[in-house]
């Protein structure tokens, strides 16, 4: 009896799956290739920091012109510039391009593992009931982990420039140059 049930459900699943697969190829909705292109550029963390549900929705909103190309804080200025070039719009570039990363206050970590599960980039390592930590080279600063931590021990810190990322600041403009511009 039980075996028949199992077989029935497996078959049902297979049939429905095949039907769905067929439908998806027959009734395929042509999407804007620009949206696909922008979505492919985005980090894909679905963090929602842009104010839209996910990366795909954000790309659609950008193509529709409802969302500024600089809305994705994870991508930073390089992403903004690439998207603006794709869309053919000009954006105002801020001088500051700050990279944030999450940091675990390790003394308070209870090892619950929720941040590990929340991280879309696998940038958090640790085992259950063990201390967790953030791989700061990989963290995009999406803040999803800070929302789930029951100990409130995840904070966002600014990445200090090191010898690889530091560069000379923009020279001061003379007062006359400012007045003329």
């Amino acid at each position: 009896m039980m075996i028949i049930t199992v077989i029935f459900f497996v078959l049902l699943g297979a049939v429905l799956g095949a039907a769905l697969g067929y439908a998806s190829s027959v009734f395929k909705v042509e999407s804007n290739p620009l949206v696909d292109e922008i979505e492919a550029l985005m980090p894909g963390g679905q963090c929602g920091q842009c104010g839209v549900a996910g990366c795909r929705q954000a790309a659609e909103a950008m193509v529709r012109g409802e969302l500024n190309p600089n809305a994705c804080p994870l991508g930073g200025q390089s992403l903004t510039q690439t998207i603006a070039d794709l869309l053919g719009v000009s954006v105002e570039m801020g001088e500051e391009d700050i990279q944030w990363v999450a940091k675990v206050n390790e003394a308070d970590c209870s090892g619950c593992g929720r941040c590990y599960k929340a991280c879309p980039f696998d940038a958090i390592v640790g085992a259950t009931k063990q201390m967790h930590t953030v791989i700061s080279d990989v963290c995009t600063g999406c803040k999803l982990c800070t929302q789930v931590c029951p100990q409130d021990c995840l904070t966002m810190v600014q990445v200090e420039p090191d010898t690889r990322t530091w560069f000379w600041p923009k020279p001061q403009q003379a007062a006359t140059a400012n007045a003329a511009a």
């Binding site: 039980m2 075996i3 894909g44 990989v138 200090e160 010898t163 560069f167 000379w168 923009k170 003379a174």
Partner: protein, 494 residues
Amino acid sequence: MLNLLSRPFRGGIHPESYKTLTNGSGIDRFFWPRNVFLSLQLRNGATLTPLVKAGDSVTRGQLIASGRNDMVAPLHAPVNGIVTGITPHFSSHPSKVKCDTIIIRANSDRRWGETHPQQNYLALSSEQIIERVREAGIVGLGGAGFPTVVKLQFARKGGAHTLVINGGECEPYLTCDDVAMQEYAPEIIAGVKLLMIASGTKKAIIGVEDNKPNALAQLTSAASEDDAIEVRAAPSIYPMGSERHLIKFLTGAEVPTGGHAGMVGVLVHNIATARAVYQATRFRRPLVSRVITVSGKGIGAPRNVEVPVGTPVNEVIEYCGGVKESTSRLLFGGPMMGQVISSPYIPIDKTVGGILALTDDEVKTREQTECIRCGQCVRACPMGLMPFQMAAYARLSDFSKTEELGVNHCLSCGACSYVCPASLPLVQYFQFAKGSINANRLKAQRSATARALNEERVQRLEREAAAKAAAKAAKAAARKARPARGKVKETEND
């Protein structure tokens, strides 16, 4: 037109050289530091692993830190003494970022930790020389600090045919290469021979600017018995010491834009590097000290000093008579390409060629005005770029346009800023633009990593879910197959 014909390359300037402050007095070899600070992070961000700990006593020439590969030259103790700690300290990088630094308190013993029996060093094979250069931690002493061993291996693989030895030293004030050529000419020639054996090059040309007649005479006489080594005087035009421009003048070959010297079969080394190779090969002495020029009108007693690597700036300046009150700026390197010293406790690393203390009348701050499109910067640019146009885009932070105009080919030589009648900080704009472009590239790499990780994670979660479902189904099936053994179910569930 005549003016154009007599020039060895397009562009270039003739700044006041101020070399007479230090070029007649030889090398002062009596300086010895109290403490040395050896940074464990190189300028390009690569890190070294320390092999000593606080409290260890080290001997001069002892290996104290090693890198992961040949791109990171190992560090040796420049003095005899005791490691007092490994703590964050300023490095010579302009960012003022602190990085882990081995601090050694020096004692007054200047002997080398170990001595090796001498042998006929000119009979060594190419591999043996390369190995000794690697062990000695030699980097290019002209300023870029690229590991010599990597350059030699590239040249060997790429079949380089000519070795160019750079004795250009076109920066004003700096005379450390000049005096080294005067005092160590035989050692430099021996080093050149070793470099030729190691790299497999058949010919060597030593290019020296013609404002150093004594150095030229010494080198010519030292090289006279070897037909493969040629010493040539080059006209004194800034930036003659640029690798690309020296190659163009000496061999006539033009290094392709964005390319490197190896593409035209040339290997370039600085004369100080040649001497270091000689020391490393013949005496197995690692690179632990270098000759630097301490000059400028703000220095009490300007001179060339041999300093152990890692000596902080303040100890060297103190030894050279301190700075005068009129000093307004301290620089590492020459006035054209040098960088401001932000703290007197910054140590000298292997790539620093000079310390300058410039007084108010040498700095000559002029007020910055608008660009008048005179085009003098275009004429001065040795790379054939349009500095005024690039600066305009850099000012607007439009880096794609700046890049299109070739800012990445800019040498940062500063010739454009030197001639600009409006005193625009042109080269500073290019430094900023190059840094921003690089930072954006790193950021793009970072988000590409994030995207790849995210995709892998999504796939992993799917796999895990599938595996879980499969395990559940298998378990259910197993339970079904053995309905009578319900009692052991609890242990199975575990």
